[in-house]
């Protein structure tokens, strides 16, 4: 068990290296190697969830490898309860993501290599206890996205409309290369903020990057007040915090299925995780001072994201904006600084990850078969693809927070938290967001799947096939299981929340 965490990070990396020597023609082998890497890391995450000692709590499975001792940089790996649940989420999403991209058509080898490198970075972030290594993995997780979207993204549909048509044309707004560049640059500007914050903490915290040591340092409140917003904006960009969320709809809509799943499902959580883990826990005074703003902006996210989703015509944009709205719920939970709020935030990361993963997998399937993403042109697909329709409905119900789905648990906790916090009014827009969500997801489901059969235009529609079923079943089952039996994960999260919040007070 000594090297479990490093093995989880290494497994996808090794699979990527192994893929380098696989020939392009060996298409099945390419997929099998990629799947092996993903499954190995998922198994590792499951083992972590089982061996993580609930009675003991705290950071477990620690590993330390000195990297640059003279600067206090070491590969310090360990997980707490939050990490356990997020590792599990990452494992589930990458495995189903590989299964869902079984039908990738061109340059498969490169696709899977980049996907695996990306996920290794994500795992790295969730397990690292060294601020520097944290940042390092963070960058790894962000960068492959550029090529993944620019090469395998969906078509360059430039939606030119309105008085600024020429700007849209000039920059090919809506095109995949535009989306890829926008996403990469916005996230990396965010990471420049993070770097500055990290250097400031390093400098005043005694020249080490050990998060355990730095977490115990009492930084001057004045310093915390200017460093915290840097962390919030930096990581918040990735978490889709308003108004730095604009990369997300474009990026998620343009990305290929597996990348959307991974990005909306896991990477955005990485941003929220960063705000909580580094911003709130290590800079408590800054967090207290900024919490009103963080929470209020989160509320804007919830409502604005939901309203934007409602007015979209493109199916992928609808799901992408719903992510912005749901990430607002996570940030709202974080900003409450209450036990319920934080439990809800982390649980929402998990629940939304699974749900949005399922959504994007389904959208990918629909697009692959119908060759369109325009909702008004679809209708009655339920009769020809009943499986897809059923799973889409499950995801929708979780999205609007129906009891019995994972989404219900987290939204309820967050709203409780908001009510108990110093800003009880946050609960009202929180509930309003859930209401608007119910409006648009139900409308979308009805428009696409229910009603009379599809027009003749969609003659070659069919249900999911082979590996696609596996992805749908795993994700769909997870929504129900974690909705009906939340304690399965909530216990672990609660232990970590108690400790982390205790450190903050």
């Amino acid at each position: 068990m000594g090297h479990l965490l490093s093995l989880i990070v290494l497994a996808p990396m090794l699979a990527a290296v192994a893929l380098l020597v696989v020939r392009e023609e060996q298409r099945l082998l390419t997929r099998v190697v990629a799947l092996a890497g993903a499954v190995a890391s998922l198994i590792g995450s499951l083992v972590v969830a089982f061996v993580w000692d609930r009675a003991k709590g705290g950071l477990q499975l620690a590993e330390v490898y000195p990297l640059v001792p003279s600067l206090g940089i070491a590969l310090r790996l360990a997980v707490d309860g939050w990490g356990v649940s997020l590792l599990l989420l990452t494992g589930i999403i990458i495995t189903t993501g590989v299964l869902a991209s079984w039908t990738v058509k061109e340059r498969e080898k490169e696709f899977f290599i980049l996907l695996l490198v990306l996920v290794a970075g994500v795992y790295g972030v969730f397990v690292s206890q060294d601020l520097f290594v944290f940042f390092l993995f963070y960058e790894i997780a962000v960068l492959p996205m550029y090529l993944l979207i620019a090469i395998w993204g969906s078509s360059n549909a430039v939606a030119d409309a309105g008085p600024f048509k020429f700007v849209w044309k000039a920059f090919q707004i809506g095109g995949r290369e535009y989306a890829a560049m926008k996403l990469t640059l916005m996230l990396l500007i965010g990471s420049a903020f993070i770097l500055v914050a990290i250097l400031a903490m390093y400098q005043q915290g005694g020249s080490t990057f050990d998060m355990g040591v730095l977490g115990a340092v009492k930084y001057a409140p004045a310093m915390q007040k200017w460093v915290f917003p840097l962390v919030w904006i930096g990581f918040g960009t990735l978490a889709g915090v308003f108004p730095f969320h604009t990369w997300s709809p474009d990026g998620h809509a343009s990305a290929p299925t597996a990348v959307s799943m991974l990005h909306a499902g896991v990477l955005m959580k990485l941003g929220a995780f960063g705000v909580m883990r580094i911003g709130m826990m290590m800079l408590p005074d800054g967090a207290l001072a900024w919490a009103p703003i963080v929470g209020t902006v989160a509320v804007v996210n919830v409502v604005y994201g939901a309203m934007s989703a409602m007015s979209q015509k493109d199916l992928k944009y609808i799901i992408a904006y719903s992510s912005v709205s749901h990430m607002g719920v996570v940030m709202l939970g974080a900003a409450t600084l209450t036990v319920n709020g934080w439990n809800g935030a982390v649980y929402q990361m998990f629940a939304h990850g699974i749900m949005t993963g399922l959504f994007f997998a389904l959208v990918g399937l629909v697009y692959e078969k119908a060759h369109t993403r325009a909702v008004p042109s679809m209708g009655g697909f339920g009769t020809v693809m009943p499986g897809v329709a059923a799973f889409f409905t499950i995801a929708c119900l979780s999205s609007l927070g129906l009891p019995g789905t994972a989404g219900f648990v987290s939204e309820l906790l967050v709203i409780f938290g908001a009510w108990q916090s110093a800003h009880a009014w946050w609960a009202i827009p929180g509930v309003l967001g859930a209401f608007i969500t119910a409006l648009y997801v139900l409308k979308v489901t009805r428009d696409i799947f229910w009603g009379p059969g599809p027009s003749e235009h969609f003659h070659d529609l069919g249900d999911a096939k082979r590996t696609e079923w596996a992805a749908l079943w795993v994700l769909g089952a997870a929504i129900i299981v974690f909705g009906v039996w939340p304690r399965l994960l909530l216990d672990v999260i609660d232990i970590a929340t108690g400790e982390n919040l205790g450190a903050l007070r």
Partner: protein, 478 residues
């Protein structure tokens, strides 16, 4: 003469190549290039076994870890650049292969001598020994690639000569005040307006050589016009030596007046970062784009130096050492693609290459494209390739002395840089290939690229040995 063992070996090697050139049949001139590479590699290996500490010429030259660091860097850069251009030179200038190799060896000799100089006359001689062969090399292609090469050579020469004159004038003021050419002698000078003028002239003169804004105008023209394998050498090795000269003159010699020259370096660093990164964006020509990116890189290099601490110098050395395989590699990849495409009669020619040259590189040659991507990422400062640590270390050095605003500027501009580096990566990976043919890369060039790639990746994964070496070298500078 123990501290000069390597340099003497190199001088003897250069002499050997010169003589052998006279007695080699025209069809066997290729041997001369190979011999030169062998000499450089041999000396590089020997540098790990020979003890070169101590002083020579009654203290005008001092060996030690500081000098050794630069010697290895120069030898490695010379060997790789020569190796990468071996076939190209043999093809283009079959009768002048000996000259080409000899010029590179002489320039490397200047570079290996320079950091150990503790006497200003010695310093300027080494500086010129490094610089003059470069003028010759820049004009090598004047008969076949048209006006660009002549322009490249002339610009480099005129600017180089002017900057030497400025440097010399500055030195003459400093030396005139001190009454001695020894570095130890100028260290005790009191601050006077005349010394201030001397220092500013020195900064300007060396800034020209480094290609620091606002003295960077020659860089894009020279890079564009000169032959690419030579540019790969020009873009890295002289920069490291220019850095050495700056440290020797300022951090060692004039360290008492750091309050005067540090703000100048800080300003130059910020200006260079801005100019390099912003002007790189609109460049359609690959070599000009990379030239401006090289200017921007000098801004980061200066940032470590501008911190003014020994640690900062160490971080800068690390930066320079990682910059060598990275930028050399990038230009060698450009060269590999250029060479492969030059057989096409519709080819636009060496100096006219646009970004679209790399269209579909990933499908024409996946390995070359991967190397290209990793070099670009290293330049952009992305983790797990060498450039990331380099950039981070200079940021840390600058942050520690309170240059937070400079770090923020550098970090934000690094994102800008990523935009144009990704533009190149996009051509290689996303765009469809313009030519369907595969890419043949000759073995020597491929080997040089692989060595650069290994260096970039190994340093990226395990930076510690190089960092320790850089820190030891920096500590030994004084």
């Amino acid at each position: 003469m123990r501290p000069l063992a390597l340099d003497l070996g190199l001088a003897a090697g250069a002499g050997l190549v010169l003589v052998a050139d006279l007695f080699t049949a025209p069809q066997q001139k290729r041997l001369l290039g190979q011999l030169s590479v062998a000499i450089l590699v041999l000396l590089f290996v020997a540098s790990f076994f020979l003890d070169t500490t101590g002083a020579a010429f009654s203290g005008a030259y001092v060996g030690g870890p500081w000098v050794l660091f630069f010697k290895r860097a120069a030898l490695a850069a010379g060997a790789l650049a020569l190796l990468g251009g071996l076939e190209h030179v043999a093809e283009r200038w079959p009768h002048r292969q000996g000259e080409y190799a000899l010029m590179v060896l002489s320039s490397v000799l200047g570079m290996t001598l320079l950091p150990g100089a503790r006497d200003l006359i010695f310093l300027i001689v080494a500086f010129e020994l490094m610089g003059v062969p470069l003028y010759v090399l820049a004009t090598f292609g004047k008969d076949d690639s048209g006006r660009h090469s002549a322009e490249a050579g002339l610009k480099l020469y005129v600017v180089g000569a002017a900057s030497t004159a400025i440097t010399l004038f500055g030195l003459s003021l400093v030396v005139g005040l001190a009454g001695t050419t020894r570095l130890a002698g100028i260290a005790t000078l009191p601050l006077s307006p005349l010394l201030g003028v001397g220092m500013m002239l020195l900064v300007a003169g060396m800034g020209f050589k480094l290609g620091v804004a606002p003295f960077h105008m020659w860089v894009p023209d020279t890079y564009q016009g000169a032959s690419t394998p030579f540019v790969s050498f020009l873009s890295v090795a002289p920069k490291a030596s220019g850095l050495a000269a700056l440290v020797v003159v300022f951090s060692v010699g004039l360290s008492a007046h750091r309050a005067t020259w540090l703000p100048v370096l800080v300003t130059l660093s910020a200006l260079t970062l801005l100019v390099g990164n912003l002007l790189a964006i609109p460049q359609p020509n690959v070599k000009r784009l990379l030239a401006f990116s090289g200017v921007a890189q000098m801004g980061y290099l200066l940032m470590g130096l501008a911190a003014g601490t020994t640690e900062g110098i160490g971080m800068t050395l690390f930066y320079a050492a990682t910059y060598i395989p990275t930028n050399l590699g990038v230009f060698l990849v450009v060269h590999a693609v250029t060479r492969a495409d030059s057989v096409d009669p519709k080819d636009e020619g060496d100096a006219e290459r646009t970004v679209s040259t790399f269209d579909g590189l990933a499908r024409r040659s996946p390995w070359l494209a991967m190397a290209f991507l990793l070099f670009l990422l290293s330049l952009a400062g992305i983790p797990f390739v060498a450039g990331f640590w380099a950039q981070l270390y200079v940021f840390m050095a600058a942050w520690k002395v309170g240059l937070g605003w400079l770090v923020v500027l550098g970090a934000v501009l690094a994102t800008v840089a990523l935009y144009y580096y990704l533009g190149l990566a996009r051509a290689a990976y996303v765009n469809p290939p313009k030519r369907s043919s595969g890419l043949a890369v000759d073995p020597a060039l491929a080997f040089a690229i692989v060595v650069c790639l290994l260096a970039v990746v190994l340093i990226g994964v395990w930076p510690r040995p190089l960092l320790d070496a850089a820190m030891r070298a920096a500590a030994a500078a004084f």
